[in-house]
């Protein structure tokens, strides 16, 4: 194993890392703060500035719920799947009081826990009493009734109400289907705060208001119906005058209590509503959405703020790209959009609407999706492909070309080409030459052709637009990928096993290269001094490097490369190899078949997309293994499948940490537990203090704690204690492999969760 140096994988995803806070409840503490569970931590947001103020981190597993303490609204409980419930003092700097150890939903049984009053930090609760057995795993399906007199829980077709005084549960059943074929399954539930009324949401979009439920026979319910599919969240306002409901339609519906025919709507919130919360004074509502977003809404049904992380789409269909102008990462975002995500500021810049159609929030509907996108060398042109597949025969394809508009600083639609190919487009690239006058776009399709598109000059009636320049094919084979050489003088198109090299100037076939058996999977030209090399990977575990001057195979090696990409800022190439569920990373120069850097098990699962992003400032690392990261950073996306049922987006970043985070990260280690700190010692190859100062100065002032607080911490950080040195030695014994696993797998050890780029300082007392 090579020396690890300071290269590590950092997971990033904006405010909601792992896109996790969707499944958590966001709650309001008062009008000023919003708490929400996000991954392993609880985040506190300001409702006015949309900034994250605190991270409350102590949980070692997913946070499943957050709740205000009724007796003291400045404290909140949080529970997690690590089996703890913690009480937080969130306005102050997180005086955390680890409270009790208890299983709230163990095997989804609802238990009551008596919280022992004690001054200790860690308390174990031993007094359990089972209240309800067999409750729904969805926390939205359980709720306390008026003044805590009863608790209601719903599962399947059964509503269960348990009265604490009588110690007696009442059960109500619904039939599976009603007459019109709607599904009656309960999805969520809310209890009226002032009245004996329970509102339940159902699979078919109905809301039922249950009354008189302390009688076994004489209970009544009224039905409200507006939603067309399942109601995912219900919430009463604190006074009980209004009921809020939301679902996949992404419309927030406000029902007047007792006047249910009067409704207010807030449509087009962007994505399906997963949770609704109301502030204790009823002035603000908040909805969390399935695309990693929280919307804060005034009680007059007007949006006041939006907290948006890296937009979580269904999948990343486009490649990861870097916008040459803004250096932003570009990938699929909201349906039909491309998101521009600033890597430097770790913030979503904007969403570019590609499809320009009203999105219909309905499950099972085929929508247009952006499947391919490409930038030209200067970022003047963006090409996108959108497709909609209703039936296999009816593939709708649109190729759109967007010109950058200096005035609006955004992309404007220039040309729409409907049905550019007869089958799906598998690859698309711009000619990356810097000196040519005309820009050429090549698209490769499953219909056996590749087409070159060229910008036609403006006519007297209309401006310049794109048109087809050349249609190429090779022995009616199906082309798979295409690549332009660095100077734009050669185009390589792979047709199954054969790589054809064309001259874009005359569209002549210059030569063919092939290395059977195995179809070409990736194709890549070398950059800079290695531009005479063409690299290809085949699906029969072969990585080949051809020399284009001699038109012969320079070297080849046997490895199962799932993704190959070249760094446009250096000669290096990165290859991801998938082996036994883990992905290994190799970095090499095309001129020699020896890897510069290799890393076993970078992540679990297969790496699907990756990109080299340029650094703002060049690093001057002289260590051989980390030199390849001097000009650029490597970002990749995996199909990551740990702990969760569905595939998740994980952006990983192999990069050294910023000085600022080191400064503050070290502090937590000093006061933290032994196990964690020994790992953290990895970080303590401390860069210069001046960099830390600069970093501190760049952080917005309103998210910084007071100077007096920072001062002592800062001075302390500049001291190098003997203790740390000792720990460093200890840490060196850890192999890198174990570190990776620790970081990704063992939640207990990953306390120093990597929100290192988050502008908020991580403050622990």
């Amino acid at each position: 194993m090579v020396e690890h140096g300071d290269i590590r994988v950092v997971h990033r995803g904006g405010i909601a890392r792992y896109c996790r806070f969707l499944c958590e409840r966001g709650i309001f503490c008062c009008c000023r703060f919003l708490l929400c569970g996000s991954g392993y931590e609880v985040k506190v947001f300001s409702t006015s500035t949309e900034e994250c103020i605190h991270d409350l981190r102590a949980h070692t597993d997913l946070v499943t719920g957050v709740l205000l303490r009724p007796s003291n609204h400045l404290q909140a409980y949080s529970c997690s799947t690590d089996g703890t419930v913690r009480l937080w003092d969130y306005t102050d700097v997180c005086n955390r009081l680890m409270f009790a150890m208890m299983c709230v939903f163990a095997e989804f049984q609802l238990v009551a826990v008596h919280l022992p009053q004690s001054g200790d930090q860690l308390v174990e609760a031993r007094e359990f009493s089972a209240v309800l057995s067999d409750v729904s795993s969805n926390p939205a399906a359980t709720s306390f009734g008026r003044g805590g007199e009863y608790i209601a829980s719903a599962k399947g077709l059964q509503l269960e109400v348990y009265f604490f005084k009588k110690q007696k549960p009442y059960r109500f059943f619904l039939k599976e289907d009603n007459k019109k074929g709607g599904k009656n399954t309960f999805t969520c539930l809310a209890c009226h705060p002032k009245d004996d009324c329970i509102a339940t949401g159902h699979e078919d979009g109905k809301i039922r208001l249950w009354r008189n439920f302390n009688h076994k026979k004489e209970y009544t319910y009224t039905t409200l119906h507006w939603h067309h599919s399942a109601v995912s969240s219900l919430c009463f306002t604190p006074e009980g005058t209004n009921l809020l409901s939301g679902g996949i339609e992404s419309v927030l519906v406000q029902w007047r209590y007792n006047q249910e025919s009067q409704r207010d709507f807030l449509p087009r919130l962007g994505a399906a509503i997963t949770h609704i919360a109301v502030s204790p004074d009823g002035a603000l509502f908040c909805t969390s959405h399935s695309d990693n977003k929280i919307t804060i809404i005034r009680s007059s049904i007007q949006v006041s703020a939006v907290i948006q992380g890296l937009v979580k789409g269904d999948s990343v269909r486009t490649d990861l790209m870097v916008d040459p102008r803004s250096k932003a990462l570009v990938l699929n975002g909201k349906p039909g959009h491309l998101q521009f995500y600033s890597l430097q500021r770790d913030k979503l810049l904007y969403n570019l609407d590609i499809v320009q159609q009203e999105y219909i929030h309905q499950s099972g509907l085929e929508q247009f999706e952006v499947v391919k996108a490409a930038f030209d060398a200067y970022g003047n042109w963006l090409a996108t492909v959108e497709e909609r597949k209703q039936k296999p025969t009816e593939l709708e394809l649109n190729l759109k070309l967007w010109a950058f508009d200096e005035q609006t600083q955004s992309f404007m639609l220039n040309t729409t080409i409907s049905a550019p190919h007869e089958a799906r487009i598998t690859a698309m690239c711009f000619c990356h030459s810097t000196d040519s006058q005309t820009t050429v776009l090549v698209s490769v399709s499953k219909d056996g052709h590749f087409k070159a598109w060229q910008l036609a000059p403006a006519t007297h009636t209309e401006g310049p637009s794109w048109s087809c320049d050349f249609v190429g094919a090779y022995h009616s084979l199906v082309p798979e990928c295409c690549c332009f050489s660095a100077d734009g003088s050669l185009l390589a198109v792979s047709f199954q096993e054969v790589v054809t090299v064309w001259s874009p100037a005359s569209w002549e076939l210059l030569t063919t290269l092939s290395q059977p058996p195995g179809a070409i999977r990736n194709l890549c030209f070398g950059q800079l001094t290695c531009s005479k090399y063409l690299l290809g990977t085949t699906d029969k575990n072969l990585l080949c490097c051809w020399n284009l001057l001699t038109c012969s195979l320079e070297w080849s090696t046997s490895m199962d490369v799932s993704l190959l990409l070249s760094d446009p800022f250096s000669e290096n190439m990165a290859a991801f190899c998938c082996q036994a569920g883990c992905t290994d990373l190799f970095v090499f120069k095309p001129s020699e078949p020896r890897p510069l850097f290799s890393h076993k098990a970078v992540c679990l699962g297969k790496v699907t997309r990756a990109v080299f992003a340029p650094r703002e400032k060049m690093l001057e690392s002289c260590e051989e293994t980390s030199q390849w990261l001097n000009h650029s950073q490597l970002y990749f996306v995996t199909q990551y499948m740990v702990n969760t049922q569905h595939n998740e987006l994980v952006i990983s970043d192999s990069v050294a940490m910023t000085p600022f985070s080191v400064l503050l990260g070290k502090r937590s280690q000093q006061e933290g537990q032994e196990a964690a700190s020994s790992l953290l010692a990895e970080r303590t190859q401390l860069p210069q203090g001046s960099a830390a100062v600069r970093e501190l100065l760049q952080t917005p002032a309103h998210v910084l704690p007071s100077t007096s607080f920072l001062c002592s911490m800062f001075v302390e950080s500049l001291l190098i204690s003997k203790q740390i040195k000792r720990k460093e030695k200890k840490a060196a014994q850890y192999t890198t492999t174990s570190l990776w696993l620790n970081n990704t797998l063992c939640p207990k050890l990953s306390r120093q969760k990597p929100s290192l780029y988050c502008p908020t300082p991580i403050l622990h007392d």
Partner: protein, 528 residues
């Protein structure tokens, strides 16, 4: 939150010819004035002097029309038989015409009776013209001869007997008093010089020559015969320069535009074509109701006058500059000035607090319905109202409904009137290849939905039968196109030289050929 995104109406590429400077120029004529003559109009000739009256030779008379009159200013009716080739002298004072009875008559434009009668031909005289020094007349006749006459004495100066068939066209030089060209049914053009007794140059056209035209510079001569228009270089001794074959029936008349940049040819195939004289490409085309026999352009191209076999004289006048601008003005009706500037000319003072009015978004009627998910109403409003004339709007709404998965609901539940309206739209637009991918599934859905009620309404039944008929025709048509495509592919495959290295070159030509012949399913560009 985000506002409603209106339905996107795709901009389809304009079908047919591209708009060029030429089409703009040649389209800028008013609707034609049509005048019925007594027989086929064989010749039209403009007076060289203002006010540029023109003589129209039709059947047994010659009518003189003023530039803007629709009634003849004057008529010459003293012909015993069909008159031919009424032509003005260069001072516009005299008019000469041949006749079926072999007599050539000379008229004063202000008089009625012939000033001179030239007798000597033995058969019908189809060609007459004044020479450039104005005192001689040149004639050509069906007796294979052409003659020169002296006007003052009414005597024959010379006879040329070189042609071996009818002489049906001829023209005199405007620059040289002695030169004239004749075209004959013996397939030849002959350039005669009055100073010698025989032709100077003979050009073989290959078909019976119907019309001949000299360029203003007189270096080139244009002849029309059969389906060909040929250009000859006189300075190179009558070498053929270009041969144009753009008509599919005999070309009958030729004419040059006033600046000499465009050549017009009229043909029995009912078309008049305009050529660019630098590259001899067709730049514009006029269609007429009947076979065109004669064609003339007024000076400065002020009007195009065409005579046809059915005796109709069609006159197109150029639009005045105001008229051509008016079209665009009518479309934009502006509010009155007072309304327009109301409150706009107020300059805010320094301390004023500006309240900006929110920009109101206007949605069309179908979009308003779509926003409220009223799908049937959206389809109705797209079928009626102002979008009725624009099928692309209706098709875009149908496509949008299909995308939302609610097209079936929108199509269902219609009464007879609404259904027949829908069927009318579909039958009208279904065979348009731009709309077919959307409308064919919609038509299928309609058939599925209303299958049970077929036979209850005669109106709907008739439309359904028509639809069936239409589809059958379209299928046959596509079949034929595919046949043609197959033939062309064979031709291309045999014509391309066998080059083994590349198959790209052949596939490229193939692709282009397909694009030209079958314009059905090719990718089209649309500029936005």
């Amino acid at each position: 939150m985000a506002s409603f995104k209106p339905t996107k109406i795709p901009i389809y590429p304009k079908l047919g010819e591209k708009v060029t400077q030429d089409t703009v120029y040649w389209k800028n004529y008013k609707a034609p004035v049509q005048i019925k003559e007594f027989g086929a109009v064989t010749n039209i000739h403009f007076s060289p002097v203002a006010p540029h009256n023109y003589a129209v030779t039709a059947f047994t008379r010659i009518h003189i029309y003023g530039p803007f009159s629709q009634e003849p200013v004057k008529s010459f009716t003293r012909f015993k038989d069909t008159a031919y080739c009424g032509r003005y002298r260069s001072d516009g004072q005299l008019l000469v015409a041949g006749c079926e009875d072999s007599v050539v008559r000379l008229f004063d434009v202000s008089g009625k009776v012939a000033l001179r009668m030239f007798k000597g031909h033995t058969k019908a005289v189809h060609v007459t013209d004044f020479t450039s020094e104005r005192y001689h007349i040149f004639t050509g006749s069906d007796d294979y001869t052409c003659r020169l006459w002296d006007i003052p004495n009414a005597t024959e100066l010379n006879t040329y007997q070189e042609h071996t068939d009818y002489i049906r066209c001829g023209v005199t030089s405007k620059l040289n008093r002695d030169l004239f060209i004749t075209g004959s049914y013996d397939h030849t053009l002959k350039l005669f010089d009055a100073r010698v007794d025989k032709s100077v140059i003979t050009m073989d056209h290959g078909q019976p020559v119907e019309s001949v035209l000299l360029y203003p510079s007189e270096g080139l001569v244009v002849s029309a015969g059969g389906r060909y228009v040929k250009v000859w270089d006189l300075l190179k001794g009558g070498q053929p320069l270009v041969s144009l074959k753009n008509h599919h029936k005999t070309v009958t008349s030729l004419c040059l535009s006033s600046n000499g940049q465009r050549l017009l040819s009229a043909s029995l195939d009912r078309h008049v074509k305009v050529y660019n004289t630098t590259n001899f490409r067709v730049v514009h085309n006029f269609d007429y109701a009947a076979s065109v026999l004669s064609l003339a352009l007024a000076p400065d191209d002020e009007s195009i006058i065409v005579g046809m076999t059915n005796g109709v004289l069609s006159i197109k006048h150029r639009k005045s500059p105001e008229e051509s601008k008016e079209v665009s003005h009518q479309q934009r009706r502006r509010p009155s000035y007072r309304v327009f500037v109301k409150g706009k000319n107020y300059m805010p003072k320094q301390d004023d607090y500006l309240v900006s009015k929110p920009v109101r978004e206007y949605l069309t009627k179908y979009d308003k319905h779509l926003k409220k998910f009223n799908i049937s109403k959206a389809l109705d409003s797209a079928l009626q109202g102002p979008s009725k004339r624009k099928p692309e709007v209706t098709v875009a709404v149908i496509k949008e409904l299909d995308r939302r998965g609610t097209l079936k609901n929108a199509l269902a539940g219609r009464d007879e009137k609404a259904l027949s309206e829908l069927l009318h739209f579909i039958t009208k637009n279904m065979v348009d290849f731009r709309f077919a991918p959307v409308l064919v599934p919609a038509a299928n859905m309609i058939l599925d939905i209303y299958r049970s009620v077929i036979g209850q309404s005669p109106v709907v039944d008739r439309q359904l039968l028509y639809l069936q008929d239409l589809l059958q025709k379209e299928i046959n048509y596509q079949q034929e196109l595919l046949d043609v495509l197959g033939m062309l592919d064979t031709l291309f495959a045999s014509s391309v030289p066998r080059k083994e290295l590349l198959c790209s070159s052949s596939s490229r030509t193939n692709g282009l050929a397909q694009g030209e012949t079958a314009s059905t399913a090719r990718p089209e560009l649309q500029a936005t």
